[in-house]
Symmetry: C2
Subunit: 254 residues, 2 copies
């Protein structure tokens, strides 16, 4: 049985709380947060506290607060014997500066409030300053996920960068698609199946093979028609830049 | 019972053939194509022909050939009494110029060879020169899909443009993500669950609400770190342009 304390009451705190609660090998000793309302969700099944000066002794402390508060919260744990980890893709191990036994427990997923996820499929990237602690984190991660990876702070930076492209920027393309639909009174829902299939395709084809469309074919007529149709200047620029980037990828391979 | 002839033996022809074969209200009279090998797949259950001068009489002709061959193939059907439709998102009704009873039967999805799709969920956009024919196409579409829409050639152009953003360009962002991973010896598979969840989120949040990341937060430090990490000049440009576009969207709302 591994005992843990969760610090933070946001999205990631809640998803990890639920995932660990569903195993019977973790005892969640306490949830520590700033907001009484948010703590109420946890108070039925766990001890809760708003006092960062009164944190229980545990095997592992999970700091699941906003990136820029990770260091501040870690200060409150400086005298703890347990292993202190944050859950951030962009913070490094050093952001837990005052801590001796420190690590990272980063679930590589984009969580949404009230939207359940299947934790078994979520890659968990772990890192620890000490070898023994890495083993503890891997054990902990394996209780909720089948996909556990040792990832250094350096590698995590790269993953976070790639995630910005495939998650944040992709979502922005959905946003542009939805604006184009709105302007022309077409329900954006028409594109939902296409969006989902585009994402699901990565299981059977790598993106290089899966690429289709006018830029891939070098179809200048369609590209020019599209540029004429686009009214928003930024959307035009994005269309040109991405089309040229696709063209370049395939010209190189000829 | 509606009788149809399918012209073409590519991706869309095969998926439509399978979908219609699974209903018992359509009789596929003939599949017409240029390649003996490709026709072989159909010859067990249907008549096949390589002779475009010897096409059977049917209620509906589905032209599922490459966009730039749609007009050429339609010429061979000029004397038919049946309704002639193409399956293209980018061709207009007028590309079937020699035909009187003409229409469009456009399944709004990205098909992959050998990858099954659930046709029930695929929006089918229909259009016809004559009202009666539109009714026939809607009946036909409803046999395989629950989502059937009247979409004009003008609207279809817009949908195709939006689809380039959410499908072709999104796939290119996956490609960039996979290159960033490769360069740093990180398996791209790590990002698969994130990619799928990003797409699935559109069912519960619109893209404007779902947007996250450094540009959304106005986190200049992370943006500059990322630009420094990126070595590829085009990737840097794409990162800047999309980040600025996101920033602008949220500044406007302040
Ligand atoms: N969201 C994701 O999809 C995701 C995925 C993987 C990793 N992560 C990482 O997980 C961590 C938490 O993210 P999240 O999405 O759960 O954030 P969130 O939903 O915005 O929640 C942030 C939490 O941090 C608390 N907090 C903020 N500033 C604080 C401070 N100065 N002192 C104490 N508590 C503070 C907030 O408390 P109040 O409610 O009182 O403001 C809230 O409980 C971050 O490091 C993030 O990078 C997020
Ligand atoms: N792929 C998609 O996801 C998708 C989705 C919706 C709509 N569409 C539309 O559906 C149509 C077919 O696309 P597809 O993806 O099925 O294409 P595809 O897999 O590339 O197949 C193209 C077919 O067209 C035939 N063809 C090409 N030029 C021809 C010519 N001059 N005369 C006779 N046949 C010719 C090809 O014959 P050979 O095999 O002998 O070359 C092949 O059977 C296009 O209008 C496309 O825009 C495609």
């Amino acid at each position: 049985m591994i005992s843990i304390v969760i610090l933070g009451t946001g999205n990631v705190a809640k998803h990890l709380y639920d995932a660990f609660s569903a195993t019977n090998q973790v005892k969640i000793l306490q949830v520590v947060g700033r907001s009484k309302e948010k703590l109420a969700v946890y108070s039925k099944l766990s001890e809760v506290s708003m006092d960062y000066g009164n944190i229980k002794e545990a095997d592992v402390y999970l700091i699941a607060v906003s990136d820029d508060a990770v260091n501040e919260v870690s200060q409150k744990l400086a005298d703890k014997k347990g292993l202190v980890v944050h859950t951030s893709g962009s913070c490094s191990l050093d952001d837990l500066s005052p801590i001796q036994r420190k690590g990272v427990f980063y679930p590589l997923q984009s969580f949404t409030k009230n939207k359940k996820v299947d934790f078994k499929e979520i890659p968990i990237c772990v890192e620890a300053a000490q070898k023994d602690d890495e083993i503890v984190l891997k054990q902990l991660a394996h209780l909720i996920s089948e996909k556990v990876f040792n990832i250094s702070s350096e590698q995590r930076k790269t993953i976070h960068l790639a995630a910005v492209f495939v998650n944040n920027f992709t979502n922005h393309l959905y946003q542009i698609g939805s604006e184009i639909c709105d302007e022309n009174k077409i329900p954006f829902e028409l594109l939902h199946p296409l969006i989902k299939e585009t994402a699901n395709k990565i299981s059977v084809l790598n993106p290089h093979e899966a690429q289709t469309g006018p830029a891939r074919r070098g179809d200048k007529i369609t590209i020019n028609n599209h540029l004429r149709l686009l009214e928003n200047k930024t959307h035009k620029e994005i269309y040109s830049l991405l089309s040229n980037s696709i063209k370049k990828d395939y010209e190189q391979k000829l």
